[in-house]
Amino acid sequence: MNDKHIEMRGVRKVYRFFSLDDVSLELEPGQIMGFVGPNGAGKSTTLRLAMGMIAPDAGEIRVLGHEIPRQQAVAKRDIGFVSAEMRLLPHATLGWHMDFMRSIYPEWDGSYAATLVKRFNLRTEQNARSLSLGEHVKATLLLALARRPRLLILDEPTTGLDPVARHEVISEFMDVLRDDSRSILFSSHNTVDVERISDTLTFIDRGRIVDCANKEDFLERWRRIQVQLPPGAVLPDVPNIVKRETDGHFVTLTTNQFSEGLLKLIGPHVTHVQRMNLEEIFVTNVMYHREARGQ
């Protein structure tokens, strides 16, 4: 149990208008998990629970082998946390923040920090209050990365960034991932960013985990199958269909368990089999689970 970087079991957190229900997830060392969900799905709540900033009403959380929130101070020595919402201390400069972090973290890598300052085109003498959103995200990322943490928890770090800044930030994550012992839990509603860096995906919607699998598994399992039925023909009963759209003789089936056997079952009327991108898989998956839950 302790070798996992994050382990959540049956975590529940109830607010007046929202509840996180029975959330379980595991992050192995070296794994990069994309935590994807629509706005208000519970991504930030889950990550804050992992950081000990809020406590669960039920369930168990362990991060880097430490019980959270009780042992959060020890666990956070090895966690880098960045959130799109997070701001630095407004009356202090970036340079002051760097000195502050260096004084707290013995592993602080000054030369790497200096490299990131240059790469992100930041100015150490600039006051945090005067940083733009993109600069702020880059600055918090710099402070998190230069301490060389074993685990990075990133809460929508690319939200609100322009494409260039997003590219810079994502490239930096890719660099971090060269070290196999590190792991990243990366929340976003931007599936393009998640698809680029993640090896595992967890979908969350309305406070519940709806699916979790390897990225390649998702991309292999999900297909859109187009069928053109001749007049009078009836489509056989096909299992594992999560969405069915009919337009006259044309039927589009979406499956989450694609196989050659499935095509054989449908018969000779298949006209086209289409791969789906992550965004399509995510949206279809979420809608399917909402329907299944009667929401």
Partner: protein, 222 residues
């Protein structure tokens, strides 16, 4: 006390350095004005009181509420510390900030009382009580700000504690053991003085301890 808590206390002193310096300077300047005569005394006493109260309010608002409002709290809570250590650092750090200004301003006021012939030394006990009251008042503001989740509640705490200064002046000033010695040539440390001081210190201890018992045990700090 661990290294992160110590660094956070130092951080408060650094971040609030201009409030502290401005407050201390304003406190001393007010006393200098108070030394210029009767009119100056009234103006100086008023600005001295305002300085101490306003510095306390600013420290409470900027140190606690703004950190939460401007999402810098997430940054602080991402550091290797527990909620209890955060509360400890915040309490000790902001009290240290206030103490610098408070000590300078209080000392300046007592120097004025004892150095200026036109001001009777008998007012010294009342001055001490007023100074300690304002220290307890600040700790109450800080306690309220750390417990309150909304700006409205913090504002209410600030309004109530500000009113408390006026209430203190109008209730403690006329007390028999205080008022009768106020114009004496030498300070009289009456039993009333010690009772009021004891009450102030008790309130101070309560407001100082409450955040460690309640806010530090809060399950959700964001």
């Amino acid at each position: 006390m661990n290294v992160v808590t110590r660094k956070l206390i130092a951080k408060e002193l650094y971040i609030n350095r201009w409030f502290i310096a401005g407050g201390a300077l304003s406190g001393v300047a007010s006393i200098l004005i108070a030394a210029t005569g009767k009119m100056g005394f009234n103006i100086g006493a008023l600005t001295w009181l305002t300085t101490i109260i306003a510095t306390g309010v600013m420290l409470g608002l900027y140190g606690v509420m703004n950190e939460r409002k401007e999402h810098a709290l997430q940054f602080v809570l991402s550091l290797p510390l527990s909620i209890a250590e955060y509360v400890q650092a915040k309490m000790l750090g902001l009290i240290a900030c206030f103490l610098v200004m408070w000590l300078v301003s209080s000392a300046a006021a007592l120097v004025l009382v004892f150095a200026k012939d036109s001001i009777p030394d008998g007012i010294a006990p009342y001055t001490v009580l007023l100074c300690v009251f304002m220290l307890a008042n600040f700790v109450a503001v800080l306690c309220g700000a750390l417990h309150a989740r909304s700006e409205a509640i913090t504002s209410a705490v600030i309004v109530i504690t500000n009113m408390g200064v006026s209430i203190f002046m109008f209730t403690v000033g006329p007390l028999p053991g205080i008022q009768e010695h106020m114009w004496a040539a030498a300070p009289v440390w009456s039993s009333t003085f010690w009772i009021v001081l004891g009450c102030e210190l008790a309130a101070l201890v309560i407001f100082f301890t409450l955040p460690f018992l309640l806010a530090a045990r809060r399950r959700d700090f964001l």
